[in-house]
Symmetry: C2
Subunit: 136 residues, 2 copies
Amino acid sequence: MSDLLERLRERGWRMTSQRRVIAEVLDGDHVHLTADEVHVRATRRLPEISRATVYNTLGELVSLGEVIEVSTDGRAKRYDPNAHRPHQHLVCSGCGTVRDVHPTGNPVADLPAEERFGFTVSEAEITYRGLCPSCT
Amino acid sequence: MSDLLERLRERGWRMTSQRRVIAEVLDGDHVHLTADEVHVRATRRLPEISRATVYNTLGELVSLGEVIEVSTDGRAKRYDPNAHRPHQHLVCSGCGTVRDVHPTGNPVADLPAEERFGFTVSEAEITYRGLCPSCT
DNA sequence: TTAGATGCAAAGCGTTTGCACCCCC
DNA sequence: GGGGGTGCAAACGCTTTGCATCTAA
């Protein structure tokens, strides 16, 4: 069953067949799909679903805080449903594979006041880069 | 004088008036211009310079390793000439402004072996997000 | 002399938007 | 029934590219 879907229902999110399919496609661990990949997968279950709806819905899930937007490079953004637990990304420079890794400390707290330049720092995003086993 | 320009000359980079102007515009600390901003500034010194040349040249500087590409969300990429010294970025979620901050430790070393999934981790990119003084 | 850099314009890609229609609550 | 969601297509912002022309070495 879809945890994401369940959470959205609990939050009173208006449900439609399109939104259900998108939530189901996104649900799971180590899922980092592009909007287009979401659309392709969603189309397999619901052929009439439009790209616009996929984009609108993903944008809404992001502002609801249920999905995280990950820009791996200059390419298409990826969408990560694992928003309920803080984590970081390990990206393979060879094939682009993304793995979730879990934090060992609080990076935000590690930025000393004199390095903040008056900014109100709310989060730190850490991306580790290297080669995965198959690309080594 | 322009350190970037000097380094490029030493590397035998073919010099033209366009490339000189671009290198001069980029040179300095805490410089994080978009391609368009580079083009606007370059045009002040060399009115005929084209956008294509700015994009081509920036791309080349990036592959030469003299400039770092910083993608801040869905906005235009920014170009950071401070590639010779390791540093991190503090990005304003309001206006997209970027500041350089300097590392306090070795983030790569902080990723424990059991979180590496067989990857050979070579670098860690840390991006702090928050609101700058004018956007607070 | 000539490989390579430039300018122009058009195309490309990912994403957003305006609007008429449709449907969940 | 009404407010919101959906689909379509066109527009959008940023970036890349094809090609003829120029220029640094």
